[in-house]
Symmetry: C2
Subunit: 215 residues, 2 copies
């Protein structure tokens, strides 16, 4: 729900101000500790306005996760290296690792990781965004296509790296250049070629949606 028709000019600014306040508030207080009243106060708006734009707290948290994972920008980049793409530095891992170099983005990422690690409801929202908006946006090429498993594996590696590099601060990973790490991850996860071709991979229903944007 990026944009709706019939929106008045000031709406986008108000919406962005609420989203900014929400991201900071979730980072400071965690998912469970955050309140709509507190976010409204931080954003300088009436709580009813947040409800008007985003619905409940769970919907607002989902909007912040969308802003961190950016599925519509991420998916085409993931697919770029689907068939052993030419440039590993243009893939999905590079996109995410670079994106999270921005201090504000990293703060949000860590808040998301912390919330998902400790709160079942927050974990469910992260699952839903990755499952539906990232993995669900990838067209299934056939029975033996492992792209979706590959994305799940790449995602686990990128998030684990964020955990060990930024939260645990493991020296051997901190010492590594982010561009080099991105290249390693792209090479380690060649999407549809993670598993031997033709191997059956079950458990995921067919893609529900396909993004209009493409690489």
């Amino acid at each position: 729900m990026r944009r709706r028709t019939g929106r008045r000019p000031g709406d986008t600014q108000t919406r962005d101000a609420i989203l900014d306040a929400a991201r900071r508030h979730f980072a400071d207080h965690g998912y469970r500790g955050a309140t709509m009243r507190g976010i409204a106060r931080d954003a300088g708006v009436d709580p009813a306005l947040i409800h008007h734009f985003f619905g409940r707290k769970i919907d607002l948290f989902r909007a912040t996760i969308d802003a961190i994972l950016a599925p519509t920008e991420l998916v085409p980049r993931l697919l770029r290296n689907r068939h052993g793409g030419a440039d590993p530095s243009a893939g999905g891992a590079a996109f995410m690792l670079r994106r999270w170099q921005d201090p504000e983005q990293r703060l949000q990422l860590l808040a998301m990781l912390r919330a998902a690690a400790t709160d079942d409801e927050a974990a469910a929202i992260l699952r839903d965004v990755v499952h539906r908006d990232v993995i669900g946006a990838v067209p299934q090429a056939g029975e033996g296509d492992d792209t979706r498993v590959g994305i799940g594996l790449l995602g686990s590696h990128v998030l684990g790296l964020a955990l060990l590099r930024n939260i645990v601060q493991l020296p051997v990973l901190i010492a590594e250049d982010i561009e080099r790490l991105a290249a390693i991850l792209e090479r380690a996860h060649p999407m549809d070629r993670v598993l031997p071709r033709g191997t059956r991979v079950g458990g995921l229903e067919p893609a529900a949606a396909t993004h209009a944007e493409s690489a």
Copy 2:
């Protein structure tokens, strides 16, 4: 500090009982919420006895992380596939993923992840165990040897997988057989061959200790 000389017969049982109680207590209350008094009560011993065996809360938490990561068992398995080892299912990733299939072990693992994600002190202990007892136990073969970076990358993948599979419960990863995931991870992380040979990797001091056990 696995075993000391001059220990009386009942000591090992008492020590194990305290460790069991501590693992459950940390899982239930997190690192910050756990108290030595509470652990003593759960274990049915005097708090002074815990202090005698383990020292402070931070030392006791470290002992539980040791029990989860099992560095002395893990390191030889990590090195087994160092030079493109014969059997990927015998490597370090397979060892950890299989180990965490045990419900009790998995509970402890998730408690460790949650504590490390939310508590700086707990994160520092996890960093210390991985940096010193796992990565530090790997002999550096020379300037171009990337084994330690490889272990850091494998570790980030294994922990990220635990996060997305067990906490976030991403369907596409839950659907995968653990043996297959282990094989994929072993293949994706061939230890010393993660990066092109001869590339300089800095930032880690020479190995402080080498485990006597070997594959």
